[in-house]
């Protein structure tokens, strides 16, 4: 189910910044929180807006459209109007590259519980 994909070099995403990718139709966001990389489904669980258009403050990612906030390390919802956690993807840093385990599109259709 899904596979690791090399998406960026580590120096392409400096601390406090994010980058957006589309892998086989899956929108993937990567955030750099104090040197740690976190990958997530780049669709706000409120109204599917691209989260990388929002802003990152420490570990808090805020959606630009309606302000839903997530803890980007865990996907946990921190503020309304989102009510469902953000699907997080596994990340590995291999030889200076950021690899993300991107699931298949239909796996994402499952409601995150």
């Amino acid at each position: 189910m899904g596979e690791f994909v090399k998406l960026a070099k580590i120096d392409e995403i400096p601390p406090d910044e994010m980058a957006a990718f589309v892998v086989n139709g899956v929108k993937v966001g990567i955030a750099n929180v104090e040197g740690e990389f976190y990958a997530f489904h780049n669709c706000c669980t409120h109204q599917q807006y691209e989260l990388t258009q929002g802003f990152l403050l420490g570990e808090r990612l805020t959606c630009d459209w309606h302000g839903a906030t997530f803890d980007i390390r865990t996907g946990e919802v921190k503020t309304l109007p989102a009510t469902k956690p953000l699907p997080m993807f596994e990340v590995e840093v291999r030889e200076g590259d950021v690899w993300v385990l991107v699931p298949e599109v239909d796996q994402l259709d499952l409601p995150p519980e």
Partner: protein
């Protein structure tokens, strides 16, 4: 049927709260909105650094969001003409005697000390941009109930404040929530500890006196587990020929098993843009009830909402709107069912007359996992003449198959049969019409505290005068 008198513009002299006092203030920001104004507000309040950052971020968000194209027409609202912050006095009064004399006189005329005598649990009063008075019964504060201005909440209870502030309504929620987040001033901070039941209401009065003022109160209410609270707010302003602006943000946390009722009777003058965001987060077994009365203002856009987050949570919205000449009431509510066995009810009644427009706009959403949710929505619109307009825009979004969802709306005028019947009983036509209207709003009026119910009825009578051609 000719209702010519209705078509004539509402005589603003009829507005009982239209009196104005001379402008007096200790500080007033320059007209319009800027980074400087935001920084001034924050500095005046001697806020922690994080709040200034929050405000400045919110200003950016506000500037980046377009004016909504749906709802009421906001094109005439000129932000450059608005004073965003006016500080009326040096400090908040702890006793009624400490409130400056002229402000006190205003609230005397509005009947506040009188209301306080009526054994309320507490009273707060906001004049222009600041709370000028907050008082809670001693036995309640002894039980740990906090009823402060929002500024005192931040100052005296920083951890509790920060834990909940902007978690129910984040700054990006909508353009006007962002604006409030940037320039908020005044409003209440309320905390009711676990198990404490505040049986009589806490009441707050909001008064705008100056012309072209923007009032941006921010209220944060936390009802802890099993707590109970009823909060009432009333709003008035003088009638000016230019527009004023009110944009509040009200966040409510209703923890497990708690019960909160929030009542607003908005009777702003007819030059007020009233754009308010109100939202409650309702946890397991808790109950939130909004009673939203929109009688005044030029334009209102206001949709109290409940996020039913915990199993068995329930929400209620009773909404009543009156739209006379030149008024557009765009009101309604949202019920978001997140957890199983949640239930909600929305009852909306509107009366439109003489070119006035009232719109119901609502959302009922049942999310995946919210099994056995039930929701019922009823909207009734009464049109008093042929120039009135009413709209109904319900959104129903259902993601669970075991939900039970109903929505009904009707639009009607006062039936000739009804009038005939009442007139047969000896009532004059005008009285008969007033009686029909009273009957129409009765299901909501009965939930109001007596003085507001009386006020509502008085208003209806006033508006109905001369409505028979």
């Amino acid at each position: 049927m000719p209702y010519d008198q209705n078509v004539a513009a509402l005589n603003l002299d009829d507005y009982k709260y239209g009196f104005k006092d001379p402008d007096k203030y200790v500080f007033r920001s320059e007209k319009g909105l800027s980074k400087r104004v935001v920084e001034q507000i924050s500095a005046m309040k001697e806020e922690p650094e994080w709040m200034l950052k929050f405000r400045l971020q919110a200003l950016k968000v506000y500037e980046s969001k377009p004016v909504p194209k749906w709802g009421a027409d906001l094109s005439a609202l000129d932000m450059d003409q608005i004073y965003f912050y006016v500080k009326p006095s040096e400090k908040e009064g702890r006793s009624w005697d400490e409130v400056p004399e002229d402000i006190k006189r205003t609230f005397d005329r509005l009947g506040i000390p009188e209301a306080e005598r009526k054994s309320l649990a507490g009273v707060g009063a906001q004049y222009e941009s600041e709370m000028v008075y907050h008082k809670i019964k001693e036995e309640l504060s002894a039980q740990g109930v906090i009823f402060d201005s929002i500024e005192d909440g931040l100052r005296n209870h920083p951890d509790l404040f920060r834990q909940y502030f902007a978690t129910v309504i984040p700054m990006n929620d909508n353009k006007y929530a962002a604006l409030n987040s940037a320039v908020w001033s005044g409003g209440s901070f309320i905390y009711v500890p676990p198990g404490v039941e505040v049986d009589v209401p806490l009441q707050a009065y909001f008064r705008i006196n100056s012309e072209n003022l923007g009032q941006f109160e921010r209220t944060l209410i936390i009802a802890d587990e099993g707590a109970k609270l009823h909060y009432i707010e009333g709003c008035t302003a003088p009638s000016y020929s230019t527009d004023s602006f009110h944009s509040g943000v009200i966040e409510i946390i209703v923890n497990r098993g708690a019960n909160v009722r929030y009542t607003t009777i908005q009777n702003w003058s007819h030059n007020m843009y009233n754009l308010v965001t109100q939202r409650a987060r309702v946890e397991e077994g808790a109950r939130m009830a909004w009673l939203d009365g929109n009688l005044g203002s030029k334009v209102t856009m206001k949709y109290p909402s409940c996020y039913l987050m915990g199993r068995g949570a329930s929400g209620e919205i009773l909404s009543i709107a009156y739209a006379g000449p030149g008024q557009h009431q765009d009101a309604g509510g949202k019920m978001i069912h997140v957890a199983p066995h949640t239930s909600s009810e929305i009852v909306s009644k509107s009366i439109s007359k003489g070119g006035g427009r009232s719109s119901y706009r609502g959302l009922v959403q049942v999310q995946k996992g919210a099994h056995n949710a039930s929701s019922n929505v009823e909207c009734d619109a009464l049109l008093l003449d042929e120039d009135a307009r009413t709209d109904t825009y319900p959104y129903i979004e259902i993601d669970e198959n075991d939900a039970s969802i109903g929505h009904e709306a009707t639009v009607s005028k006062i039936g000739d049969e009804q009038l005939f019947y009442l007139m047969q009983r000896g009532l004059a036509k005008e009285e008969a019409r007033t009686m029909v209207v009273r009957g129409f709003i009765e299901p909501i009026a009965k939930h109001l505290p007596l003085e507001y119910a009386v006020e509502l009825n008085r208003l209806v009578e006033l508006e109905m005068e001369g409505s028979v051609g």
